[in-house]
């Protein structure tokens, strides 16, 4: 309820108001009479102080308003630029130190396509693209049978529960390493970066960065260029599951795989145990069959070797037989009996000495004559 204002009441003994009293009263009147409201205008003279507070004017063709947006309100927002058309939700007040009428801005939305978020997103995306971090060729393949799976997420969110349930069902062989991080709020960016940094030094096969759905502000940390660069620099493949399927964050874009939900990320990170069991069964069958075939080969080879042995001996025997026949034919041809068979005769004396010349056969000499079928006594006449 508004405070009543008695302009004619003496505020001091001298009958005059002090400056402080006027500003204080005026502020009370303004704050009571003008509740927080939406104001539309163009940003001018924007200035972000080191403290994080933003100072700027909102103006239109005929007027302007001083505005302040404190750090605790703007920490998640990308800074607007002069000339931008915005909506602000603000509390009109009077800044007593300077006696300035001003708006304390609580929310600031750009009226341009997609708003400030879009603008900041595109800017960061362009920087990442320039450095090649969104190149599809950078995407790494996920390990087929991960041993250690790390998850960066809120320690008490549904995302972690979902992931854990999927892993327990599909691939409990793995070890789940949970790296808790603040996934929203002012500290989210630093918290996520520090979690990533910690994991980069652990022997982890695949990393899941997960966060359930939320407003664009809630997902802010995962649109920060710093987080995106940290994700891109991870030594192991990263699966990103941030927000709902329709929210694509920079973290999703630099990750090796983007999953629509934390559960889907866990599925993508793991094989199905039941399928792997079947695969093992098949391998077992192949192993047994391969041994059977291998031993069959050995037996067949043995048989073949035996056959060769037998046939080689047979060959040898046959060859020897042929040789024998040839030799005996030659022997036969040389046999003197063979010559006698052709009608020749051999004359020998009583001592068996062969008589070849006329001088050995004087008249009256007795000798023996060998013909093909026997011997007869003979005498030279």
């Amino acid at each position: 309820m508004g405070q009543s204002l008695d302009l004619f009441a003496a505020a001091s003994a001298e009958g005059a108001w002090t400056v402080a009293e006027v500003t204080r009263r005026a502020r009370a009147v303004i704050e009571a009479g003008l509740p927080p409201l939406w104001v539309r205008g163009e940003i001018a003279g924007f200035k972000a102080w080191r403290s994080g507070h933003w100072y700027f004017s909102l103006r239109d063709k005929s007027a302007q308003l001083r505005c302040v947006m404190f750090a605790k309100q703007n920490f998640m927002l990308p800074a607007p630029t002069d000339g931008m058309q915005v909506f602000v939700f603000a509390r009109p007040t009077l800044y007593e130190d300077k006696g300035d009428f001003q708006l304390t801005v609580m929310e600031l939305l750009s009226t341009e396509q997609g708003g400030l978020w879009k603008l900041a997103f595109e800017k960061a995306k362009a920087a990442l693209t320039k450095d090649g971090l969104l190149d599809p060729a950078r995407k790494r393949r996920l390990p087929p049978f991960p041993r250690r799976i790390a998850v960066v997420t809120s320690p008490d969110g549904a995302a972690l529960r979902d992931i854990q349930a999927v892993l327990a069902r599909r691939w409990p062989i793995a070890e789940l390493i949970v790296v808790p991080a603040q996934v929203q709020g002012a500290k989210a960016e630093a918290s996520v970066c520090s979690a990533l940094n910690r994991i980069s030094r652990l022997p982890v096969d695949v990393l899941v960065v997960a966060r359930g759905g939320g407003s664009v502000e809630d997902l802010w940390a995962f649109n920060s260029e710093r987080v995106a660069r940290a994700v891109a620099a991870m030594p192991m493949p990263v699966i990103s599951a941030i927000g709902h399927e329709t929210d694509v964050t920079l973290c999703d874009l630099v990750a090796d795989l983007r999953a629509p939900t934390p559960s889907a990320a866990a599925e993508a990170a793991t094989p199905d145990r039941a399928e792997v069991r079947i695969k093992c069964d098949v391998l077992g069958q192949r192993l047994a069959r391969a041994l059977r075939i291998a031993s069959k080969h050995v037996v067949e080879r043995l048989d073949r070797t035996g056959d060769r042995l037998v046939s080689s001996i047979q060959n040898r025997i046959e060859r020897s037989g042929a040789l024998l026949t040839a030799h005996s034919a030659r022997l036969d041809a040389l046999s003197p009996l063979r010559v006698l068979g052709r009608g020749y005769a051999v004359a020998r004396d009583a001592d068996g000495k062969i008589l070849k010349r006329v001088a050995q056969l004087p008249s009256g000499k007795e000798f023996r004559l060998r013909v093909s079928d026997g011997e007869v006594d003979a005498r030279v006449q």
Partner: protein, 63 residues
């Protein structure tokens, strides 16, 4: 116990070799025995019932 993927890779390699090569019975038997052992170990790993969960705070130093 060796990593599951290494176990399975080796098993696949053994099966492929047994299937593709004309091996001595001795060597084939040796491979077969190793294959059976790898298969047994893989099945044992697959039988593990519970997911191990660690919070990173418990493992500050890289192992």
């Amino acid at each position: 116990m060796p990593e599951f993927s290494k176990q399975l890779e080796r098993l696949e390699a053994i099966v492929r070799r047994l299937e593709a090569e004309d091996l001595d019975l001795d060597e084939a038997l040796k491979l077969f025995e190793e294959g059976v052992e790898r298969l047994r170990a893989a099945r044992e790993q697959l039988a593990q019932a519970e997911l191990k969960v660690k919070k990173v705070l418990e493992i500050e130093s890289p192992s």
